[in-house]
Symmetry: C2
Subunit: 306 residues, 2 copies
């Protein structure tokens, strides 16, 4: 029995996970509004103790959105929580009296997916979350790649086009600027404003907030050429990044999770077309690329396994 | 005492290496002109036996330029040797009666450099050879990364600019098209033909074959603005690729070897400038980037350590 905490900018999900990686009990605590670290950790710890019926917890894993010093268990910076240099491991150990391991949430989710959806003979895997942002986790030889400072796997900010669109990170042409949710939505709205012929115009006129990756997928599946072109470009750009990942890491599997990934073949088809234009066929033919099964709990499960 | 073979398209270097990774004896065998595999292996094996004074060899490591099936010891394809599907491990075992391990030459050289030049507490390293081609080897947690099919580390063919120059591999805008020796030389000659004011024009008129990375370095060091601009662009493009590598793998050290790398600060200065434009400072500040010590033997030493 293990305890996992998935701490994001909106809420902290907490779950008690059994040895077969099934969730026995779960709860959550609000974390929005830039909470004071020790206050939030105290609240989460109380919820954990509740979940355990006051039984002693010996080990806890925590996934946090942000730049994490894995060795020290310190949150270097978390824009989502508004935190800088927070000794999260020490705080949890103080309130929970349990050994705590802290890691980046994308790493933790990749690890949870690897442990729950990937056959155990597969050892080299990349997991990419395609959502508002684009995150990733890299598994090599069956181990999560952390690198020198726990910063490895920053796939969303690979440079795709030097003079490309401005990214939230401040650089230009990061992968995220082609495939991240707000960028896709912006591109659709720009097209509509330019007068592109598309069924999405009507949706936009009724309520601009209804323009979402899901709406673009539905339109594309109904044959809307503009909607299809949006996915074709996004898939192509993702294919350029995946080509580099395959050449560098030669993985056996790549999994996509997150809302944008639910476009499935609309994104996979152009992606694979671009990928197969690469010359060296051995690594290209060796990788299987797929959208992961819907798994809202991989974050907490991964955290429980840290 | 170990035996290593570094098998390229011109010659096979063979060396007997002691436990302190010093070369005790060495020899070489010509391998040019698309040799018949079993003939060449026989010749190399005889040279090995000579080197050993007919003493029995128990283990041999071989680095080969090409796409290698590491598990089976098969050369899938080696353009330099003109080989396809050559069971090199089986051939060496037949002629040398010794256990043989076969790997890609860039991997082997990276491993040799890692074992001879890198402090043993450093576990995450990238080695890049900047020469005619651009090759690489990636060391993670103190182990050489091979990936699913032994194809990992194909750094030279990372995509830098989708519509960039045509690469030898057939794709466009690979890193190699910005930093590989023939591409640098071509760019200089194009500049001279376009009438750029540069001291390299005189060298070109006397003998076009004298235009080399070394000549461009000498000119740049003497203040030639055109020569400097060549290195600035090459270093910038290399910096874009290094940025991705640092974000993905978060290495502690990156080493450059090969002829083009001898431009040293001419290439490192613009590289670091571009790298430090990236936003996430933790992995960027954690990596130390340097030109390796001159080490013509890292290939055979790495092979001996396979």
């Amino acid at each position: 029995m293990k305890l996992g905490i998935d701490l994001g900018g909106t809420s902290a999900k907490i779950a008690l996970v059994d040895d077969h990686l099934k969730i026995l009990k779960e709860t959550s605590v609000l974390s929005s509004g830039n909470p004071q670290p020790s206050e939030l950790v105290k609240k989460i710890s109380l919820a954990c103790l509740d979940l355990m019926n006051k039984k002693k917890i010996s080990k806890v894993g925590v996934g946090v959105a942000g730049d994490i010093d894995f060795d020290k268990g310190v949150v270097r910076i978390s824009p989502n929580l508004g935190w800088k240099k927070v000794p999260l491991k020490a705080l949890f150990q103080k309130y929970l009296k349990a050994e705590t391991i802290v890691d980046n949430d994308a790493n933790v989710a990749a690890w949870g997916l690897y442990k729950t959806q990937v056959p155990s003979n597969i050892k080299n895997v990349i997991v990419m979350t395609l959502g508002t942002g684009v995150g990733g986790g890299i598994i090599i030889d069956g181990k999560l790649l952390r690198g020198a400072t726990g910063s490895a796997g920053e796939i969303g900010h690979m440079n795709i086009e030097e003079n490309g669109p401005v990214c939230n990170c401040g650089n230009r042409g990061c992968l995220e600027t082609y495939i991240g949710r707000p960028h896709l939505v912006k591109k659709v709205i720009e097209g509509i404003k330019k007068g592109k012929k598309t069924s999405l115009s009507k949706i936009y006129k009724n309520n601009p907030a209804d323009i979402s990756p899901l709406a673009v997928s539905i339109a594309a599946k109904k044959g809307d050429a503009f909607a299809k072109s949006i996915w074709n470009e996004a898939g192509h750009m993702l294919g350029l990044a995946i080509g580099d990942l395959v050449y560098l890491l030669n993985p056996e599997r790549i999994y996509f999770t997150g809302g944008v990934a639910q476009a499935k073949n609309l994104i996979l088809t152009p992606l694979l077309k671009t990928l197969h234009q690469r010359t060296f066929k051995t690594p290209i033919n060796a990788v299987k690329i797929q959208v992961a099964q819907n798994a809202p709990h991989i974050g907490v499960i991964g955290a429980s396994l840290l």
